[in-house]
Symmetry: C2
Subunit: 321 residues, 2 copies
């Protein structure tokens, strides 16, 4: 959606005054986090700005095709005059990058999560955009900035990954038209889908097979688990669970899907999916997490069994399942 004129004016003013800009995206970065950050970087470089991209976690190797992905730093140290957070629903999602020295700088918060806490001095939060990349595209088009092939490749990446190739319930005609404009600017859709979607190691597939066996389904709630032990046996990392909940969301018997993953640090990652009409973002929020009505998550302390009991009872209470 095009932003109100006064918001666009404030953003333009912030950008006009800034010369050294720090872009921060969220920990455990996904395609939309990395794509929106690199897309905005590429746009700002064209405007003659000095731009640094930062993320507390390393960029996964399969995003190396994105121009500029090698420039990410894992620190907030340095001399800046503006901070822009991308795809972060709250301040904590920026991790350690947003260090105290940065707190005195103006902060522009660009995000599409409905659970965003509006933590910036200026906040462009648009839950109608399927991805933060779509907001960055709207920004570029609102300011009549030209779209290079590089920028378009970054921005289409977020559209593709956040919608799993245009199949989430929030995809509209506007989304598809945005994708077409990005492809007209040269973004290679096939390469993007091939690099980012369904690319898994054989060991991950074996792990998924085990997770499928452990599926339980009761009263419309389907859940399963990925334990440290399962991962160790297959030598796969925590990230092997990514995509599992989205995949299981297609199971006919399920209204809500939950995947519990034991992380290396002993916490439990909880990934939830809901059929249209239900809202797991509110449940995630109450458990200290966030997200979208149809896709949300949180991280819980305590063991797997406790996490399951807590999440399942919260879901049953909240969603009346």
């Amino acid at each position: 959606m095009k932003p109100p004129t006064h918001l666009l004016d404030r953003i333009q003013e912030l950008l006009r005054r800034a010369q050294r800009i720090l872009l921060i995206t969220h920990i455990a970065p996904d395609g939309d986090a990395i794509g929106s950050t690199l897309g905005l970087r590429s746009l700002l470089l064209r405007q003659g700005k000095n731009v640094t991209c930062a993320c507390e976690d390393a960029i996964p190797p399969y995003f190396r095709y994105l121009p500029g992905s090698e420039t990410f730093v894992q620190t907030g140290d340095g001399s800046y005059d503006l901070v822009i957070s991308l795809d972060c629903s709250d301040r904590q999602r920026m991790g350690n990058i947003y260090n105290p020295a940065l707190h005195t700088l103006p902060l522009l918060n660009i995000d599409h999560h409905v659970t965003n806490t509006h933590f910036g001095q200026v906040n462009w939060v648009d839950p109608d955009s399927v991805a933060t990349c779509q907001i960055v595209l709207t920004l570029a088009e609102s300011l009549n900035w030209p779209l290079s092939r590089q920028t378009a490749t970054c921005l289409l990446t977020g559209l593709v990954t956040d919608t799993r190739a245009f199949r989430t319930a929030n995809v509209t005609l506007e989304t598809m038209q945005a994708a077409v404009r990005l492809m007209e600017a040269g973004a290679p859709l096939t390469e993007i889908t091939r690099q980012t979607l369904d690319r898994r190691s054989l060991d991950t597939i074996y792990l998924w097979g085990q997770a499928f066996e452990r599926i339980q389904c009761e009263g419309g709630i389907l859940w399963t688990e990925v334990t440290q032990d399962m991962r160790r046996r297959r030598s796969v990392r925590e990230e092997a669970s990514v995509g599992l909940s989205s995949f299981l969301a297609g199971v006919r018997e399920a209204q809500v899907v939950v995947v519990f993953t034991e992380r290396d640090d002993g916490t439990v990652d909880v990934s939830m999916r809901a059929a249209p009409g239900l809202d797991v973002a509110q449940v995630a929020l109450r458990l200290g997490g966030g997200g979208h009505p149809q896709a949300a998550g949180c991280t819980l302390d305590g063991n797997l069994k406790e996490a399951k009991t807590r999440v399942l009872s919260e879901l049953r209470r909240s969603l009346d399942l």
Copy 2:
């Protein structure tokens, strides 16, 4: 692609003369088969034609959202003056519907399979179209026929199912623009993806878990099997294998994926997927099947073990893997 003028002229002439048209699509119909047939039906009804849709096999229940899906007949009997085959790569794909009484009628063959045998009196075969639905859209637009919401819904279904939501290697800017035009005409993308993609029963997911465990991978070829016994234990039908080979095509270690499914009649269904640059359609063709370079298949007599030996050695020889 827009057809050459002389081809369009011949098709227009065939359609102008015809009043009672039989549309036939292939056995084991998929989204593109059903969508292209019902889309053309809806277009021809608007032109005042009498139209019957036929398919030897029943229409799967999850395609019931398609307007006209309840009108399919499973016989070729009746009085017609034109036959149009849709999405059939050869005459046999029409099954028993194409009975001897129909052989004297003009036959228009509309298809996008590169292995099409050009078996019609008039053949519009365009392998550059991602789906037969895209050819029907081109036909409608070339003849300036209006696109109703019904027609658009049918045609977008084939685009979505044959590309698994725009993620196959043959999707281009033209494909996405076609999708946008169909959505502008009212086709509900979200409903279509929700009804047709990733909708599986819990028992199917359990079966997939077992098939994952049985995966073998050697020299870039990944294969697995779905036996009658596995299906029986989970009470799932042959169709439970649909999508398995496409899903496994994302495995990083695999250049080629083969899924062998024991059918109820004792034959073995062979579904193959290949990375861009390889061509499994030629292999399928030699084994009596057909398809596209990146996605092809065949049905073999004999037991599972024999089928595996034959297909794997054929693949190794042909693809130099």
